[in-house]
Symmetry: C2
Subunit: 203 residues, 2 copies
């Protein structure tokens, strides 16, 4: 069984992925994939992370104030990252019995017949989730937070749209789209896992 | 508990609605609403049906070869239909404990906190469902069938978009979007009903 979770930032997709993996007895892959990709591409982990967050081929405007990479993002190195991502994700998917959060896994591993979930929520819910997890002293306004949500999702979509048949978040690309607005995530895990089990058996 | 099903034509939304109602012990409302609306608006049932299928305020190009209405569609009578639809749907929603298929019920009865489901499927699945139900001797091509699916969905969207905050089929307007491609509908009913039960308890 292979489950992929695409999600809007702050909608609880990561939490759903982890809890589903526990419920279904599956392995769970998330941020550790970045390290694996960096290792495969023989590139700095933080660099790899920035490339993937910014959708690959873009003009990078981020600063490396605290960790200077010896190499600037160039089309060659970006390609190396994307090729490494492909390799790593497909190797994981091949082993199967796992939940993968993000990383365009639903597209990269499409032929392994994953159950493809998209998680999203309304602005209010996302703001509440974000504030509940905010470090003490963070003073961003709702407007600033919503803007950052949009930017992060935009970065995710950029890379996804490079690889996928349908735009990121478009219903045609998923088996199930779950709106977590005003929802206690722990309560939906059991029925959601049962539904995924049934969908996983499709031809 | 109130459940509304919006759906693409031939995606199995109607079947899902009926089976969910059985599973959850809820009343099921579907085509009989048309008769109720016609009765409330004191208009011909077939006329009412045509108005609603064509999205309300349009230039009607349909023929009444076999049943001539004494009144042509005019903005006034169309309004009567829409007002009647509003009354009928809200009365049903107020009684609660039911599943309503279509009729923009999720929008019209939004304040009754329905669990809003959108059902869709890929073209292949929709063609197969349609052919499985086709009367003997029907010889429409795949291309013609797909065109008719688009037209029917377009009619549904037209009326919906008149009333709703989000476009018909846009994820923001629903709690759950279910892709029934390659899926045996009977198998997803139990877990789907459990999920709906949880979602129904949200504030």
């Amino acid at each position: 069984m292979l489950v992929t979770i695409s999600r809007q930032f702050a909608s609880g997709g990561r939490e759903i992925g982890k809890r589903l993996a526990d419920e279904l007895g599956l392995k769970y892959y998330d941020k550790e994939i970045i390290a694996e990709i960096a290792n495969t591409a023989k590139l700095d982990e933080e660099y790899v992370s920035k490339v993937l967050e910014n959708g690959g081929y873009t003009n990078f405007a981020f600063s490396f104030a605290h960790s200077i990479p010896l190499v600037s993002p160039t089309p060659n190195t970006v390609t190396d990252v994307l090729v490494a991502q492909q390799k790593v994700i497909r190797a994981i998917a091949k082993k199967g019995d796992c939940v993968i959060v993000g990383r365009c896994a639903d597209v990269i591993a499409h032929d392994f017949n994953p159950v493809k979930i998209f998680v999203y929520a309304d602005e209010q819910t996302k703001l509440e989730r974000c504030r509940a997890r905010a470090k003490a002293g963070e003073t961003l306004t709702d407007k600033q937070l919503l803007k950052s949500f949009k930017e992060i999702d935009k970065g995710r979509a950029k890379l996804y749209d490079l690889l996928a048949a349908y735009p990121w978040g478009a219903r045609e690309g998923y088996d199930l789209m779950v709106n977590t607005s005003r929802t206690e995530i722990t309560k939906i895990i059991k029925p959601l896992s049962d539904l995924i089990t049934v969908l996983s058996a499709r031809k």
